[in-house]
Symmetry: C2
Subunit: 164 residues, 2 copies
Amino acid sequence: MKSHAGRRAAVAGLEGLCPRRGLPLTVQRRAVLEALAARRDHPTADQLYEDVARRLPGISRATVYRALEVMVRAGVVRKVWYAGAATRFEVPERRHHHLVCVLCDAVVDLHQPALDRLPGPGRAARGFRVLDYSVQFMGVCAQCARSTKTPPRQSSGRQSHEGK
Amino acid sequence: MKSHAGRRAAVAGLEGLCPRRGLPLTVQRRAVLEALAARRDHPTADQLYEDVARRLPGISRATVYRALEVMVRAGVVRKVWYAGAATRFEVPERRHHHLVCVLCDAVVDLHQPALDRLPGPGRAARGFRVLDYSVQFMGVCAQCARSTKTPPRQSSGRQSHEGK
DNA sequence: TCCTAATTGCGATTTTATCTCAAATGCATA
DNA sequence: TATGCATTTGAGATAAAATCGCAATTAGGA
Ligand SMILES: [Zn+2]
Ligand SMILES: [Zn+2]
Ligand SMILES: [Zn+2]
Ligand SMILES: [Zn+2]
């Protein structure tokens, strides 16, 4: 779709950045969003930094990371493989799904029988052999909803109320 | 929760580690798997290292990471927030899902109308406000299925055939 | 028990993400 | 359009997470 969309095009969601006082729309943020919209894949923050730096030489890597963070919170962009700072593991037992808080990265299991027999990707995934699947619900957890202020996301200790 | 579960208990999937010649079952791997099985949450590799080191003083951090890697490949454990080395992003457009290769971490979009109106978590997720969801299919991509040998996972360049 | 392939430990290294704070900028207001 | 203040940026240091290389050790079949 629109291969060269994003040149100066109005990228969807941009207006969501400066709704009320407190989220200025800077050229850097615009550039990061346009760079992301211009790709069809799922780039990493560093790949986006490379892209943006091409048009905005001198931009700081930290700025790209920060721009992505505020945009994730604003709902303009999404983390695909919702990764915290570290990869998490589990022993695959009975099928279950996950609730992920987009503000604090808390992860909670969800058992929902209605989701246990979803149709597979079928012929849409030619060549891809499916081993398992699970549904990820992105949203805001109770604790974060309660604390209207800036969410607890200092440093790397992001599992503030994660069960442990 | 079985506080001392995993003491010497037969952890499910252990035998899957030494099926044919080539995957010795070491005390370290057993310890990592038992440590993981003993937790109800979704620990990070480093948290598991802490747990294991308590019973196996002197174990190397690298060993824990390697043990998790082989077990993921053997299907004994699963990466929860399927994270590669880096977090990926995308602009949330029309609803779609993802095919993730467990061997090379390739990520591909999947459009499947049948999955676009799944029932939400409902009352099972008290307090959690769902913003969006998507289904993750874990499996083996065509390229990896073709190359029966050790998958392409050298260094950080893990998006070998990821579309770009 | 012996032999060989595979794994481990250790430390160095790379990759990814975050922090600090002075200087620059967005933007509401006049 | 000019002014003022709160927010953001840049640069580099730092922290956190993951990986690498290689000699010594170990698992497991013969
Ligand atoms: Zn939360
Ligand atoms: Zn889970
Ligand atoms: Zn693959
Ligand atoms: Zn996608």
